[in-house]
C-alpha cells in the first residue's frame, strides 16, 4: 500500500441497486486506496456480485455514486461520464477477472491474441512487439510459450483463468475487479492461482476489489474486508481483525462455519 498517496482511488457513497422490490445492495459506502486489496465476502445472494457490477461500471446503480481518480489524478463520476470514456477506462486502467474465464476470454482466438487485444485497442501496431509482450505475460502467468497460438478452448480451467488474468494485466491497470477468481477450480490449482495473484498484485501495486465466498482466499489476498448480508455491509475492517475477532452475529456465524483444516 502506498501511504504517500493522499487520495482514494475509488470513492463509493450511498450505492444502492434495487431489482424492483428486491434489494441487490443498499447504501454501500467506502474508499479504496491505491495498492489496497478489498475483499467483499458473504454467502451467495448477499449482494456481492451486484455490488461488484455497480462498482465496475457494468450495472447502473439505483442510487449513489462511484468516483474514480484516474492516472492523471483527475476524478470521474463513473456513472456520469460518457459510456465511451467508461469503456476506455475499463480496458486500460481497469481489469475485470470473471469467475468463469469464458466470460472474460475470446474463446475463438488464440491465447496470444487474447493477451494482445488490449494493446491493439490502445493503438499498438507492431505485430512483433505485441507478440513479445504476449509471450512475456504468458510466462508471468506460467503458461508455456509454446501454447501462444493455441485456442483457450484447449486450456484447462486453471490455465484459462491465468490467461484471463494476463489479458487484463497486460495494459498495466490500476484497479482490478475479481469475481470469485478461484471459484470452480481444484484446490491445488487454486493455490497456484492465489500465489500468482498475490505476487502480481504486490509487484504491480494493484488496487483490487475481490468478491469471494472463500474466507481463506480473502485472508490470503485482502487487506480489508466488507462482510455483506442481504445486500448490506454488516461489518468492515482489517482482514485479520474481521476474521479473528468478528463483531457482527452474521460475521461470527460466517467465520465459525469454516471447516478447520
Amino acid at each position: 500500500m502506498n501511504a504517500q498517496s493522499p487520495q482514494p482511488l475509488l470513492t463509493v457513497r450511498g450505492l444502492s441497486r434495487y431489482y424492483g422490490q428486491h434489494v441487490g445492495c443498499r447504501d454501500i459506502s467506502f474508499d479504496l486506496w491505491p495498492g489496497e486489496v478489498l475483499g467483499i465476502v458473504g454467502e451467495s445472494g448477499s449482494g456481492k456480485t451486484t455490488l461488484l457490477g455497480c462498482l465496475s461500471g457494468r450495472l447502473d446503480p439505483s442510487e449513489g455514486s462511484v468516483l474514480y481518480r484516474d492516472r492523471a489524478g483527475q476524478s470521474h463520476d463513473v456513472y456520469a461520464m460518457p459510456e465511451m470514456m467508461r469503456r476506455r477506462l475499463a480496458r486500460s486502467e481497469w481489469g475485470i477477472v470473471h469467475q468463469n474465464p469464458r466470460d472474460g476470454l475470446r474463446m475463438a482466438v488464440s491465447a496470444g491474441a487474447n493477451v494482445g487485444e488490449r494493446l491493439m485497442a490502445q493503438g499498438a501496431r507492431h505485430y512483433g512487439g505485441i507478440r513479445n509482450q504476449a509471450l512475456d505475460w504468458l510466462d508471468k502467468v506460467e503458461i508455456d510459450a509454446g501454447r501462444i497460438d493455441d485456442s483457450p478452448r484447449t486450456f484447462s480451467g486453471g490455465m484459462q483463468q491465468r490467461l484471463q488474468i494476463a489479458r487484463n494485466l497486460v495494459s498495466m491497470p490500476r484497479l482490478v475487479f475479481m469475481d470469485e477468481p478461484t471459484g470452480g477450480l481444484d484446490v491445488s490449482v487454486q493455490a497456484r492461482l492465489l500465489d500468482l495473484l498475490r505476487r502480481l498484485v504486490g509487484e504491480m501495486g494493484l488496487s483490487v476489489i475481490l468478491v469471494t465466498h472463500d474466507l481463506a482466499v480473502a485472508r490470503l489476498l485482502a487487506h480489508r474486508l466488507l462482510v455483506m448480508r442481504g445486500g448490506e455491509v454488516v461489518e468492515s475492517g482489517l482482514t485479520d481483525q474481521v476474521l479473528d475477532d468478528p463483531q457482527h452475529p452474521y460475521s461470527q456465524l460466517l467465520v465459525s462455519s469454516i471447516l478447520q483444516v
Binding site: E83, A113, M120, A121, Q122, R125, H126, Y127, R131
Partner: protein, 287 residues
C-alpha cells in the same frame, strides 16, 4: 435499346422509397464509412443477387445516366446482364460496358481497373456490411464499438492471420479505416482493389439489401487498409501477364481450360482487358 416496360415507375421503385433511400445516402455521404439503416424493399430478385445495390442505383439513377454493371469485373455474366437489362427496361437508360463512358457503375466484388473520375458513382453490392461481426456477433455491441471507435478487435483478426499463416491472409473484404474514423467493410472485393478506394475522385456507395444498410465513401476520402508496422498491407501480385491483353497491372483470374490441368490467367475486368488488346491499339496508333 428495348422498350421501357409499361406500368412501372421510373427505375422500378416508387418515389417515396427513393426519397427514403436518398436520405440514407445523403446521411451516409455526410458520415463517411458509417452504416446507415434504411427500409430495404422486396426486389424482384433474391437476396444475394444485389438487392442493396439495385435499390441504391434505382434511387439515384436519372434518365441521362449511362449505366455499367459488372460482376467480378465482367460485364457479361448473368447477374450483370440481368441487372443492366432491368434498368434498361424500367428506366430506359443507356447502358455501356466502357468504364470511361459510364456515369453510374454498379459492381459486385470488383473496382474497375480504369481509374474513375469526378462525377462518376460506383455502387457496390454488399452481402455483410458489418466488419466487426467476425468477433462480435451482437449488433447492439458492434454499433457501440463503432460509435466509440472501440476497434481493438479488428487488429485481433489480423494478428490471428499472421500468427496462423505468417502473413495477413485476408484476401477479400479486407477491412479499411475510412476518413480516420469508421472501420468499414469494402464488400468482397479483392484487397488488390483497396488502394483504388483511397482518395478516389468518384463517389462510392454501398448497399446491403438483406441487412438494410447503406454506407458511402465520398470523393477524395482517405481509405486506409488496416495493417501492422512490421506486416504492412500488400496487394496480390502475379508472376505473369494477362494471356489476352498482356497487362501486368490488372487483377488476374485463373481460368481452367481443359481436363488436363491446362489453365490461363486473364484480366478479371473484361472491359479493361478488351481495351488493352493488340487489335484495340490501332485506335491509339491512329491518334
Amino acid at each position: 435499346m428495348s422498350a421501357t416496360l409499361e406500368g412501372y415507375n421510373f427505375a422500378y421503385l416508387d418515389e417515396q422509397t427513393k426519397r427514403m433511400i436518398r436520405r440514407a445516402v445523403l446521411k451516409a455521404v455526410a458520415i463517411p464509412g458509417y452504416q446507415v439503416p434504411f427500409g430495404s424493399r422486396e426486389m424482384p430478385l433474391p437476396y444475394g443477387w444485389g438487392t442493396g445495390g439495385i435499390q441504391v442505383t434505382a434511387s439515384i439513377i436519372g434518365a441521362d445516366d449511362v449505366l455499367k454493371v459488372i460482376d467480378q469485373g465482367a460485364d457479361d455474366t448473368t447477374n450483370a446482364v440481368s441487372i443492366r437489362r432491368f434498368f434498361r427496361r424500367t428506366a430506359g437508360v443507356a447502358t455501356t460496358t466502357r468504364t470511361e463512358e459510364a456515369t453510374l457503375i454498379q459492381t459486385r466484388h470488383r473496382i474497375p481497373e480504369t481509374p474513375l473520375r469526378e462525377g462518376q458513382i460506383l455502387v457496390y453490392q454488399v452481402p455483410i456490411p458489418e466488419p466487426l461481426r467476425w468477433l462480435e456477433p451482437r449488433e447492439t455491441e458492434t454499433r457501440k464499438m463503432h460509435a466509440f471507435a472501440d476497434y481493438g478487435i479488428m487488429h485481433v483478426k489480423l494478428y490471428e492471420d499472421i500468427a496462423r499463416f505468417g502473413r495477413i491472409a485476408t484476401g477479400y473484404n479486407y477491412p479499411v479505416m475510412v476518413n480516420g474514423r469508421y472501420i468499414m467493410s469494402p464488400s468482397p472485393i479483392p484487397k488488390f482493389d483497396n488502394p483504388k478506394m483511397d482518395r478516389n475522385p468518384a463517389l462510392q456507395l454501398f448497399g446491403a439489401g438483406r441487412e438494410k444498410r447503406i454506407y458511402a465513401v465520398p470523393p477524395y476520402t482517405r481509405v486506409e487498409s488496416l495493417d501492422f508496422e512490421d506486416h504492412p498491407f500488400e496487394i496480390e501480385r502475379w508472376e505473369r501477364a494477362c494471356a489476352l491483353c498482356g497487362s501486368t497491372e490488372s487483377f488476374l483470374d485463373e481460368v481452367v481450360m481443359d481436363d488436363r490441368g491446362g489453365r490461363m490467367f486473364v484480366c478479371s475486368d473484361t472491359d479493361y482487358c478488351e481495351s488493352h488488346r493488340p487489335d484495340r491499339s490501332e485506335q491509339e496508333a491512329a491518334e
